[in-house]
Subunit: 106 residues, 2 copies
Amino acid sequence: MTAKEKALIEAKANILKALGHPTRLWMAEQLAGGEKCVCELVEDIDADFSTVSKHLTVLKQAGVVIDEKRGKQVYYRLKVPCILQFMPCIEAVLQATAQRHIDLVK
Amino acid sequence: MTAKEKALIEAKANILKALGHPTRLWMAEQLAGGEKCVCELVEDIDADFSTVSKHLTVLKQAGVVIDEKRGKQVYYRLKVPCILQFMPCIEAVLQATAQRHIDLVK
DNA sequence: ATAACCCTTGGTTGTTTTACCAAATAAGAT
DNA sequence: ATCTTATTTGGTAAAACAACCAAGGGTTAT
């Protein structure tokens, strides 16, 4: 494996890793429906404001979202909407996995 | 968010997390070309036998791969091949992100 | 039976993540 | 100017992760 190939795979893994946390994945799914400010996300989830903000920072650094400050609030949105296209496949994995998962997807 | 929705998102995040490590992502890509035994993966990468084995266990528990013992060796393969279909989108994120990433994808 | 090979498991250590709290910054309202 | 409101940043402690080494369990070959 060349250094370039290695760097590419690390970059890709980093994006998947960013989405590989329940809170962050949930946020990405929320943003698929359109931009939201941090406060809206905080409101919908049982977590600290700072926690939400830090998760958004992770997504931002991974290149999954971008932010824009408007007035008092900061709005986040998906940078590349296709990100959530692979959810059906993820769910197919769950389907294929175990009995206990099947009812999750249905 | 109901308990069920929460469980679903955790399960999905777990799959993405499993793929969110350079070595594991690399393995998944290798297996996209067909099953391989652990020894073949170890040979192609600069890592300990036990490290490779543990990474495979993570992928297995996430439902991404399945294993089959044949003779002395254990063969791993992708359980749901579509897993790697979203790589183009991941690369699109890289493209969209920063100058320093662009040359990685090309 | 012994040896050699393939793989997993257990243990250890260092690193990374995560969540919360408190404090700091920034913008709009009074 | 002061006070909210919205968000980020810094700090800290607990938990999870990752890599290596050593040891153990099967399986085939001798």
